[in-house]
Structure formats: C-alpha cells, structure tokens
Symmetry: C2
Subunit: 219 residues, 2 copies
Amino acid sequence: MIHPQMATMLVYLFTDIAASAKELQPLLTTACDHTFNCISVDGDTSTNDTLLLLANGESGVRLKDSGVARKFADALLSVCQSLALQVVSDGEGVKHVIHLSVEQAKDRAEAMLVAKSIAHSPLVKTAWAGADPNWGRILAAVGYSGVPIQVEKVEIWIARQKVFGHGVVQKFNEMEAHRALSQPQCEIRVKLGRGKNGVVFYTTDLTAEYVHINADYST
Amino acid sequence: MIHPQMATMLVYLFTDIAASAKELQPLLTTACDHTFNCISVDGDTSTNDTLLLLANGESGVRLKDSGVARKFADALLSVCQSLALQVVSDGEGVKHVIHLSVEQAKDRAEAMLVAKSIAHSPLVKTAWAGADPNWGRILAAVGYSGVPIQVEKVEIWIARQKVFGHGVVQKFNEMEAHRALSQPQCEIRVKLGRGKNGVVFYTTDLTAEYVHINADYST
C-alpha cells in the first residue's frame, strides 16, 4: 500500500538549522517530489501521509547564509531518498527493489506517466519477482502509458545491458541480466527518445508473498 | 493480461442474417463497449485484439426488417457478454470473478474511471482472493480514482448486503458476505450518488497462482 501521492507514511525530519517555515517549504516540496512522491509498491494509496520538517535553529547556521541553502537542500534530498528507499524495500512481500529511470521524456509529467505505467503493471512486476529480463512486458507498459512513443526510438536497459533498441531486441547476455535482477536492487532504464527530461522512480516486484499477506487476513 | 482496450483476444462471430457491414458496425461497437471493453484481469493490455462479425445472409432475414435490429442487437450483446465473462473466468490464476457494478455516476466515463480504479487495485483484488469483505480498500480505490466523490453519498454493496453507506460501515453479516465472495462469481455494487449513469465491469481476484504463473517462467 505504498504509492506516490503519498502512501501510509509518517515522516518527521529534524534539523538544527535556523530557517523559517516559508524558507524550508520549497526545499521540502522539491525533496519530496523527487523521493517520497517517486515510490510505489502496489499503486494503492492511503490517507495517512505526513512529511514534516522541523528546524530549531540550535546550530546558529542560517539557511539564508551564503552557500548554505544548496548544501542543506542536498542533504535533505539525500535523507529523503534514503528513507523513501527504505519504505519501498520494506513493502509487503518485496524481494526486489527496482530503480526505474525513465529518461529522454518531453517533460517530467510524461516521464512520470511512463514510470507509473511500468511500476503498476502486474505482468512487469511478476517478471521482476522471477528475475526475468522480460523487456516485452516493459515495452508494452510504455506503449499503453498514453505517451505517443515511436518504438524505434525507445531503449530499455537492464543494469548495464541494452536489451531493446532500434525497434528490436538487442543481443544481450540473458544470464547476466537475470543475475542483475536477482540482486536485492537493480537498475532499469527506459529511454523514450522524445526529449531531455526524466524521473527516477523506486518500485518493487509483485510476489506471491504480497498476495498471501494481503489475502490471508480478514478485516 | 486481460484488460479493456481490448486484450489478447481473437473473437470471430458468425451470423446468417442479411446485413451490410455498415449496418452491423454500430451494433458490434455497442455490444463490444458493454462487454469486451468492460473486462479486466490485471490491467495489462496487449496488441493482439480482434473482434470480427461476419454475416452471410443465408437466413434471408434482413436486419432492416421491422423489429429485427433490436432482437439481433440483444442477441449479439448476450453472446458477447457470455464470451467476455468466459475470457475473464479463464484469466491467469483466477479463483473469483467479480461483477462490479458502478452506479449513480454523472456519466459513463466517470463510472468507468471508478470501475477501473477498483478493478486494478492490488489491495482490493487480494482481498477478493481471500473472500474478505473489505469495503475499506474498495472505498480507498473509489477515493483515489480522481472522481470528486462525497463519501457520505457513497454506498458499497457486497452481494445483497449494504456494507457501507452514509459515511460509515453498516451493520452487516460478515460471514454471509464472506460466503458470497467465496463463490466463483459475486456481485459488488458501488453507488456514487452523483447521477444516473453506470457501468457493469467484469474483473477478478489477484491470487498467488497468478504470480506463480507470471513469475516462474523465463522468456
């Protein structure tokens, strides 16, 4: 039950920087958009989402001092990224976490649309459960995402190998791809060949364990 | 891999009525919209969809004769309905088929949005796998469908029992609801309280068997 927008999640961040809520809000929003709003286990959302950042100024370092804002934003992003990844890794029945990078989109919204289409496909997610380098299911999910792709321009990479490009399957080492997908975390990249925008999305496989957890208790 | 739009499906219908393609097309489109385009197993689509209707005129009965078109349309709908239901029932690992009726929507598009939101929720589908009368997961899927509902106006019915209404859970016999959901087919109705349009959608549970079928073979 984890999905952008956000999901069942209560996150409290504390810092001793000196900054007003007004100064911190845009930094937190940006960090959130790139982390907690880029995760999905099963696409189901809930209403119990909270992300709070509290600053007490104890350090005496002010956010508005020269060079501080950038460093703080980086640190904030890094903390959020780590937490977001932990949320996904801890998803119900999750065996594999996928770093899904959708690149070369016209804009970020388009990249998100493709990322969610892939991340919510039961066929893609069950293939990942089996560490199966099934590029066809990924391509199908790209295809039905609603983004008007040209298939000859699309590339799909599993870990370090290009498995699909120029409209056809590429020669690749299937055992190596299988081994990469067998790891607790694996990167999959999808290039759309439409522009310069992208998104990194953290998602998971769909396992029989997930079904057991969610089917075998009564409410 | 079954989902409206349509899915991996090759349907050929034959009739001995006398009618032109131009006369038959609107009847077939309507029948298709209410049957083959209202089914979903897992939300994944494919490109191999065909629905053909062929008429040879052998019977001598002409579609344009008085009263024939209505009867023929009914028969066509009934055949398509039966086939669509067979497609869903035959889905990977399916143990329960759900007749999901979304009612009181402002228009059909809105009803479809809600139906698909429910039908594609892994949490809802796993609850169905366990024959669990979990109205909360259904309500959550209604809530994140994008349709601006007022929760006090929403009703959820499982078989003959109203389980949610007036914004709160209703007193209902849980064992009876569990027994109804344990059948091969069960009806679930969701009333939105927004208008007079609706859709009947045929969908399924999500079982561990589905995961095994789709995870445990390599491509």
